[in-house]
Subunit: 207 residues, 2 copies
DNA sequence: CCGGAACCGTACCGTACGGTACATAGATTT
DNA sequence: AAATCTATGTACCGTACGGTACGGTTCCGG
């Protein structure tokens, strides 16, 4: 939708860097102009507004992350399980990333102003792609008879909860990501194992 | 140390109200002084600092919430299940409360400054009591033979994930609590049902 | 009745930041 | 070569807010 120019991308990258380093308070228009060797006037010309800049940062960051669609070949149950584990580790990796945390903090800190525009943006560009990818994966598993569920969304939310627990909020509150996302593979394996016990073939559907 | 005087409590209550209504930006010292009919000088005398005020707000709010210890009588499995469901609904209720959301947003918004003091405070006074209560409940269930697990913390985190999913972050990002905590009892029942399938008696422990 | 402590209301100060204006320098077009 | 467009850097403005100072008032103990 808004492919920025390379120059603008560089400025946005710089802005993300500032945000990660010092939080929102460190991201001032003057500071960004100085750090990125551009003028404040250009900032306002390009992004219109400080809020516009923040929004642009989110869409820019989202444009960097690509969510690989599931490879269609999914022959064995073992492959499918591995795919789920990869998803789980990816999810934990993304959520514990510095930039992700900084942007989420930013959006949450502004969730009261103007209808939570940034929050909506973050949900749409950040969470939705992940959600769609996971749901596609789940339904693929169901098609192959590895999973059994009637409500895809419910299954997805359960999977998310089993993987993340309350780790995301704890990290957002300042807990060290290392402490939360520690031993990511183990945690991913456990979550997937639990998920299979709830939704795997052979488990009766919940009602 | 922090039993505040009634007058100070009233001021803190007023501050919470301002925070809920308009977010952090609406919570200015001058505005609070005006709304609470007190002087800025008193604010600084009592709380030392704006950050001190924010910290006081958190401890004050925490002091209002009491977590009932589990009643020791827990004869039947049905009673225990009901207790778990009550915990689940309580948890969803607390997390979707206006004041809780506002304070979490506040702490997250400041999670970059001075070692995330507010975040630590929130974890200690807000989440820890809930965690302890839940763990006590879980271990009570294990003592009665209703549950089977080796790692209490792991079981607790799983329970938390099954109940909350990513609803907390979504609400923090501005999604309507009604949309997330909608149909709380159904969601609580589902989560407890799933939890029993993972950790209930008759389920082999995970390893 | 007196003196002091606590507190209110207001005024004030310094500063930081969002946003605008302008003067200058390269680059691109005509 | 002249003109135009774009971008930089600096200077500037208005405002909002954290923090402090001060005069006036109420309340309480002696």
């Amino acid at each position: 939708m808004e492919p920025f120019t390379p120059r603008q991308n560089a400025v946005l990258e710089c802005a993300l860097q500032l945000l990660v380093a010092g939080g929102e308070r460190a991201l001032t228009t003057a500071g960004l102009a100085r750090a990125a060797n551009c003028s404040k006037e250009s900032l306002y010309k390009w992004f219109g507004d400080r809020d516009g800049l923040l929004a642009a940062m989110i869409t820019y960051q989202a444009s960097k992350v690509r969510t690989p669609g599931p490879r269609e070949s999914m022959p064995t149950l073992d492959d499918f399980t591995r795919s789920l584990a990869v998803f789980a580790e990816d999810l934990l990796g993304v959520l514990s990333g510095e930039v992700s945390l900084a942007l989420n903090r930013l959006a949450i800190g502004q969730a009261d102003r103007d209808g939570a525009e940034l929050g909506a943006l973050l949900r749409e560009h950040g969470r939705l792609p992940i959600e769609l990818r996971a749901k596609a994966l789940l339904e693929l598993g169901r098609r192959h008879g590895y999973l059994k569920f009637s409500d895809t969304h419910e299954a997805y939310e359960t999977l998310y909860g089993l993987i993340v627990h309350d780790g995301h909020v704890r990290m957002l509150l300042g807990e060290a990501p290392a402490k939360v996302a520690d031993d990511r593979p183990r945690r991913a394996r456990l979550a997937i194992s639990q998920f299979f016990r709830l939704y795997g073939q052979g488990a009766q559907d919940i009602r």
